[in-house]
Symmetry: C2
Subunit: 374 residues, 2 copies
């Protein structure tokens, strides 16, 4: 697996019972996954020779993030190394322009969008649609709210920012959505696929805060529609492994595709404790072309809450408190140094009563961050 | 953790979400746990200087097996390294003679037993009790049926075997039990303890084959009695970490203690998929003095079946078959080379219908071994 973040850490964890020999390419020996994996190569994934050397002896290569250059993936494939997801699929998670163009051709509903070259293009895009605000995104490199600007009027000073990086910029209408959903599916090279229950994802400042599985009050037909949409995207794009389709649910109940991610995803962390087979285990099974595991829930409700760093670098006493307060709490820490706002872990809580489950997850995440006291 | 077997492998897996930095002392780099742990020291646990060097920088030392010499554990403690369970507790899992003497003083029911020096002692022991057969055990070093002999008459040729090793020998009456049970508990340094549901353990040729959680048809009072007994043993012996108390249930419903193990135990593997908190996670929490997790079941029935090696060294096609046949099957492989009769993994199946759950677990384990075909 390329990339030493928490997704690789949790993928390794899920691979252990499957008997998988896991090899990691990590930026540093201190990265989240590098702390817990046996076979670690420290190196730069942007360097093709580093990737080639790392790939020696691997049965398949997969990814913790979308940042490996597409041409490097093609070079690995040319060397005979299976890359899953492959570059032709992954480019849709790497480049929002490519993704928008492709999903548009597939007729999949999305916010109105257009590639723009300058502020005049933005003004024209706004004028031809419903006006401002307009969302601007660099097509590559954005993450957790980074690389995204909301432009509120034509001469908004922030409207110049996106064009400074020299990366193509995508303009999108700002959808007044009712909430955000995510449809997670996993697909194998031979075409087997499973769909997890559709979840509600609650964001704060562009960062996922809470995930509720399944999405409360979502009509069965809408849930099935979202699953079918995600399965169709996975099939038509040739995705192998986990695909997260982030969706806006409009006030009219329409579902619009916001983003794609082709790796285990924050909106699927609840599956570790709330589903028969976790997204991490199914990602491993998919990229190795093993039969997939059951994606169904093990409890009526599971809530995931991200643990963000607060003002205090030492979470230890809060960690003890949360474990003692709720012996059913499932804590997942990433081994990262605490910095304000940084994702350093998450908690899962499952049960029969959504209000109770949600309150316990929010309490633990808040207490660990230092925003809840008692 | 000292010892690179599958118990260390699964303890590391359980420690990852807890944010634990896991360091392993392993006999070889190929051992089950050494394949998946980042920080591995290869060395001989019987050598005190190796242990001392390994212990540098560890917050606490715990064990995959009971074979570390008691005097070495005392030396580590004298160096200021917390050893959990400590030598005064662990000796009761290392030495069956010490265990029998101590539990006898505690008034805990057990098979009639006595240390014996020779065959004449065995004959006298039999004559004073209910005669032959008598079970002979070396007090140290036995495992999975090794170090145990059933002597059927006074001049049985096997009656001389146990005395050849130069290790003290314990004679025990052969109990005509109805079945075997196990009571698993976990205890912290500060005295918090949790008791898992009592399970039935089905052995074949002295090796655990199947575990059913909870033990079918066990009266509530008997289950509570077994849990209380295990908690009392943990408390009085000062156990820290996981304690498995293996029990004989007689036809009259009496519970007799057979063996003790002070580490995660085969009779607790079902907890990985069938309990809120696995035995491995609670062992880690206990030895680090973290609050313990909820030991209760997540399903009405969970069945664990050990995967033993069969005649074919390559299990891959059987592995694919089992995953495809039962997408809810939870497979736990140990990364070991397949040898006939060797434990190379286990499967867990949970659900509402015991017959169905048991049949699926037996099918998967048998198919992987090659004794079931379809």
């Amino acid at each position: 697996m390329v990339g030493g973040g928490q997704l690789a850490r949790m993928t390794h964890e899920a691979g252990i019972p499957l008997g998988i020999r896991f090899k990691l390419l990590s930026d540093t020996p201190q990265d989240s996954a590098a702390q817990v994996v046996g076979d670690v190569v420290v190196g730069d994934y942007r360097d093709l020779e580093t990737l080639r050397s790392f790939a020696q002896g691997c049965d398949v290569i997969t990814f913790d993030h979308e940042h490996v250059p597409t041409e490097h993936l093609r070079a690995l494939e040319a060397d005979g190394i299976p890359v899953r997801p492959g570059p032709d699929a992954l480019v849709h998670a790497q480049d929002k322009g490519v993704m928008r163009e492709r999903l548009g051709r597939m007729g999949i509903p999305a916010p109105r969008n257009r590639l723009v070259r300058d502020q005049a293009d933005v003004a024209a895009f706004a004028a031809e649609g419903s006006g401002f605000p307009v969302v601007l995104k660099t097509v590559r490199g954005g993450y957790d709210g980074k690389g995204v600007w909301v432009v509120r009027e034509a001469d908004d000073p922030s409207a110049a920012e996106p064009f400074k990086a020299g990366v193509p910029v995508l303009a999108e209408e700002k959808v007044e959505f009712a909430r955000e959903l995510a449809a997670n599916v996993v697909r194998s090279p031979h075409g087997q696929a499973v769909a997890y229950p559709v979840v509600e994802s609650i964001q704060t400042d562009g960062v996922c805060d809470t995930v509720i599985a399944p999405a409360p009050g979502l009509p069965e037909a809408a849930a099935v529609h979202a699953q079918e949409l995600a399965l169709r995207v996975a099939h038509e794009l040739g995705v192998v492994g986990h695909l997260a389709v982030e969706l806006f649910e409009t006030r009219e109940g329409e579902l619009l595709v916001n983003e794609l991610a082709m790796r285990p995803h924050n909106s699927g962390h609840w599956t570790q404790d709330g589903a028969v087979t976790s997204q991490f285990a199914n990602h491993v099974r998919a990229v190795l072309d093993l039969p997939l595991g059951d994606p169904r829930t093990r409890a009526p409700w599971t809530v995931m809450a991200n643990v963000l760093g607060g003002d205090f670098p030492d979470m230890y006493s809060a960690y003890l408190h949360c474990m003692a307060r709720d012996p059913q709490l499932k804590i997942h820490m990433y081994g990262k140094a605490v910095k304000p706002g940084r994702k350093v872990g998450h908690v899962n809580v499952y049960g029969d009563d959504l209000d109770d489950v949600r309150a316990r997850a929010a309490h633990a995440a808040g207490y660990l961050r230092g925003t809840v006291v008692e």
